[in-house]
């Protein structure tokens, strides 16, 4: 899982109360409690528990739930609202769900990363308990207010469907009637949460919010935002990394009708993840801006990157792996692998490579900004509010309290909206003009933005003993650091681990056991910026390990499923998904001629997955016919949402196997649009079978990034069984049905 660490934020208590007051401003009556303190009370109070961050009850009975996580299509608005609503006893599909008035309210800080951010498949798993507590606190206060009004004990009242009822009588009151009185009561020190069997929404939701707005085209995305006087900006960014503007003739661009300004946007290489140099064209609308951009005459400086070719990376990476001076971080050590090689009955060695990849959300990056009275307003899909602050500070010199965010749902992210270059660019443009600016990427810009997935090379060596068991395994995962954007100082940690680069190959999450294990990450920086990409380092790490496990099984003459199970220890949930997926796919049943199955597995975010790919071969054409997938994600809060995340992940995995590949030649990205960078279409999709196991029902775990990594190795493993050929670099060269 993405494990980002930034310096801890220790808010002062006083500051908390001030923010509380700010938060409730504008509401007729809003709850704003802290434990043991009533809303009207302005004393010092602990800030550990703040239900007011998520619940608003208005006197007219309107209930508003705040979802503080960005929704880029992952369904967080539905799943997180359900956690509050379940305990508050309101229908999560019927109440209003809003984004935070102040996204920088301290309760919204990510509990692991200590920044304001959404990502890493953590939204439901990490917020589950405290959102339910927030809902339960509000419920108990409303019940207490009703009890007080009626002269009853709270136990003589119960809340249901937005009302409090007298258990033994006829009296009832809707939440709005009780809100003001409830806000004056001290918040309970602790609350009782509902038992699993009492849930009405959690574990049962099959639909998501906003569906009607989405099927009528009425939902407003960043790209749809209009404001009086707004200019639309597009940026011609340096085609080669590191190039600067040497000469600029904006005359022809400025002569295009509708074009208002041409502004040079300076590069910020001093900021990790900072923007490249560019020339922005600002116009009345996007089309005019693009016409102006194509009329720009820019002379770019030379850059050392002009020599860079991604085609040469496998050789370069291979050499780096042979270099004894290469920085190696050991991620898992057991026994002594080197001493085990001579005794091996069989030795295997293999390299696995993956290319650069691009996230390509269908809504290209788009963000508006405006500088008003010394405050920088961002409007749009801001997935990482902390980056908006960083942009304001590093570009405009504005402190954190000068940043305002009006958040909108995004048309996909997959990591693209966890980059910060575009926030810095729009902050710069907002500072240069007196009007609101909407920065829009074209698809070509999106392809060439970089900050996608890193190219990698994995080198594995394995020893089998005379019983066909794995006696030693060595793995070297060559990759740049990914955590750097988040934590510049991570390398000073004692273990030197970049947890976002060593997923699935570290001591706590490597699936397999053998007497001698030597796993490690070799850091290799090419200078090509990379960023967050759905499933991050699980993708190459699982591709290499799960492919190699099949190669070892084949060499040992063992069934790939049995071979895996024989090397797992104390992983009952992991074993169960493997067994269930095998059963689902008919692993042990006879197959038709020209058909083969391949298996792979993954774990992460607290969840487990196994995928079986079924391939067929017909006159030289290999086709992925079916993917059978079983997951255990603990409690599925919104089962419909879990299923679609699983499907989406499988589709992404199919993309890794068959399509995703970004080339860089002469320092410039080669691909430009969906004709030369293919993504999965409906016609590419095999049959998909998904089973969500009822696992540990007490706790939800992550699903958004779980299921893509095992798909490519499952397909590669099936190809080997079908053709005898082992494919070790993605995308695979297959002739696909047209």
């Amino acid at each position: 899982m993405k494990t980002r660490h930034l310096k801890n934020v220790q808010p002062g208590r006083r500051r908390f109360l001030k923010q509380s007051a700010l938060l409730s401003a504008g509401l007729a009556v809003g709850f704003h409690w802290v434990p043991g303190v009533s809303a009207a009370d302005d004393r010092e109070a602990p800030s550990a528990f703040t239900p007011n961050a998520w619940v608003r009850v208005l006197p007219d009975g309107t209930v508003k739930l705040v979802v503080h996580k960005h929704d880029s299509g992952t369904g967080t608005r539905t799943a997180l609202a359900a956690c509050v609503a379940e305990e508050l006893e309101v229908d999560p599909m019927a109440v209003e769900v809003i984004t935070p008035e102040n996204p920088f309210f301290e309760a919204y800080i990510h509990p692991l990363w200590h920044v304001f951010s959404t990502g890493g498949s953590t939204s439901v798993s990490l917020e589950y308990d405290r959102l339910r507590q927030a809902g339960a606190t509000a419920r108990e206060l409303l019940v207490a207010a009703a009890a007080k009004r009626w002269g009853l004990a709270p136990a003589e009242c119960r809340a249901i469907d937005g009302r409090v009822f007298e258990r033994a009588g006829d009296r009832s009151a809707h939440y709005g009637e009780l809100a003001e009185a409830a806000a004056r009561l001290p918040a309970p020190e602790s609350v009782t949460l509902k038992a699993l069997s009492e849930f009405r929404y959690i574990g049962k939701l099959r639909r998501k919010r906003n569906a009607l707005e989405k099927v009528t085209g009425r939902l407003r995305y960043s790209i749809d935002l209009e404001q009086p006087g707004m200019l639309v900006a597009v940026i011609q960014r340096a085609p080669v990394i590191g190039a600067r503007v040497e000469g600029l003739d904006a005359g022809a661009a400025l002569a295009v009708p509708g074009v208002r300004r041409v502004i040079r946007v300076p590069a910020r290489p001093d900021v990790l993840g900072g923007n490249r140099e560019g020339v922005a064209v600002l116009a009345d609308d996007y089309w005019s801006a693009q016409q102006g951009r194509s009329a720009l005459q820019v002379r770019w400086s030379s850059s050392p990157f002009a020599e860079f070719d991604s085609e040469s990376l496998p050789a370069r990476f291979g050499a780096a792996l042979e270099d004894p001076a290469a920085p190696l971080v050991r991620t898992l050590q057991a026994g002594d692998a080197d001493s085990a090689w001579p005794a091996a009955a069989k030795l295997l060695e293999a390299d696995y490579g993956m290319p650069y990849k691009v996230q390509n959300p269908l809504e290209p990056i788009c963000i508006s900004a405006e500088l008003v009275d010394g405050r920088l307003h961002f409007r749009g899909g801001v997935q990482v509010p902390s980056f908006a602050r960083e942009a304001a500070l590093t570009v405009c010199g504005l402190d954190a309290d000068r940043v305002v965010i009006e958040e909108l749902i995004s048309g996909g992210s997959f990591g693209a909206r966890e980059a910060k270059y575009w926030l810095m660019e729009v902050a710069y443009l907002a500072q240069q003009v007196a009007t609101p600016v909407k920065l829009m990427n074209s698809r070509e810009d999106e392809m060439r933005a970089l900050f996608g997935h890193a190219a990698t090379l994995h080198r594995l060596k394995g020893a089998l003993d005379s019983d066909g068991r794995l006696s030693a395994l060595r793995l070297r995962a060559l990759s740049p650091a990914s955590g750097e954007q988040w934590e510049p100082g991570y390398d000073e940690r004692a273990d030197h681990m970049d947890y976002s680069t060593t997923e699935a190959i570290s001591a706590w999450d490597f699936a397999y056991r053998a007497p001698n294990l030597d796993l490690g990450w070799v850091r290799h920086e090419t200078g090509v910026p990379t960023g967050w990409y759905r499933s991050v380092s699980f993708i190459p790490n699982v591709f290499a390990v799960e492919s190699f496990m099949d190669e070892l099984a084949l060499a040992a003459g063992r069934d790939p499923l049995a071979f895996r199970l024989a090397h797992m220890q104390e992983r009952p949930r992991h074993v169960r998904v493997l067994m269930k997926a095998a059963a689902l796919a008919g692993w042990h049943s006879p197959l038709p001629e020209g058909t083969a199955l391949g298996l792979a597995t993954n774990q992460g975010y607290g969840s487990f997955v196994a995928v079986v790919a079924r391939l067929s071969r017909n006159e030289g054409v290999i086709r992925v016919e079916r993917l059978s997938c079983v997951i255990d994600c603990g409690l599925a809060v919104a089962p419909g949402g879990v299923e679609e995340q699983v499907y989406g992940g499988l589709m992404w995995g199919l993309g890794h196997a068959l399509f995703d590949r970004l080339d860089i030649r002469g320092g410039e990205v080669v691909q430009s649009n969906f004709h030369d960078y293919r993504v999965a279409r409906m016609s590419d999709m095999p049959d998909i079978e998904i089973r969500i196991l009822e696992g540990d029902r007490d706790k939800p775990s992550g699903v958004g990034e779980l299921t893509s990594p095992p798909v490519a190795p499952a397909i590669a493993n099936a190809i080997q069984r079908l053709t005898g050929q082992r494919l070790r670099s993605t995308p695979f060269e297959l002739t696909l049905p047209g």
């Binding site: 299509g73 906003n210 989405k214 996007y286 269908l362 499907y647 649009n673 999709m685």
Partner: protein, 154 residues
């Protein structure tokens, strides 16, 4: 002036906009934001509209080529979001981020309106020009079949 008819309403637009793609005319001149921009090259289907009754990529049609054409956008698919496909889309909970869904629905509506038999083959043929990055293809296919089974054409 260039005349176009959008969702039954006639509009007259300046000759200066002759080369502007219909997509941007709809979005920026007529304030119909439901039609989305995804690639600008006719590759992703997000801007699919009905052009004289057939599905077309609005980013590839200069306004001049749309003169006197009848155009239908997602806003004109139904009055209240109750086209059989929209109902089926909600029933099957199709949208994830939702950004591609205007285009998906317009492609699906053209398939149903064509009177062709609705099956896996015709659905794939009609829908494979529309990219969804979230991965809603399975549910789209189910929703189209549901709408067809319920007699939806409109």
């Amino acid at each position: 002036m260039i005349k176009i008819q959008v969702n039954g309403l006639s509009h007259e637009l300046s000759q200066d906009l002759a080369s502007m793609p219909l997509l941007w005319v709809l979005r920026d001149k007529l304030e119909l934001k439901g039609t989305k921009f995804g690639c600008g090259k006719g590759l992703c289907g997000a801007c699919t509209v009905h052009f004289n009754g057939t599905p077309a990529r609005a980013c590839q049609i200069p306004l001049s080529a749309a003169a006197d054409a009848r155009i239908r956008t997602i806003e004109g698919l139904s009055e209240n979001g109750d086209h059989p496909l929209q109902k089926a889309w909600i029933e099957e909970d199709v949208p994830q981020c939702g950004y591609c869904q205007s285009g998906q629905l317009m492609s699906a509506a053209a398939l149903l309106a064509s009177g062709s038999p609705v099956n896996d083959t015709s659905i794939r043929a009609a829908m494979s020009g529309n990219i969804c990055r979230c991965g809603t293809y399975g549910r789209i296919s189910r929703a189209i079949k549901r709408a067809a089974a319920e007699g939806g054409q409109a």
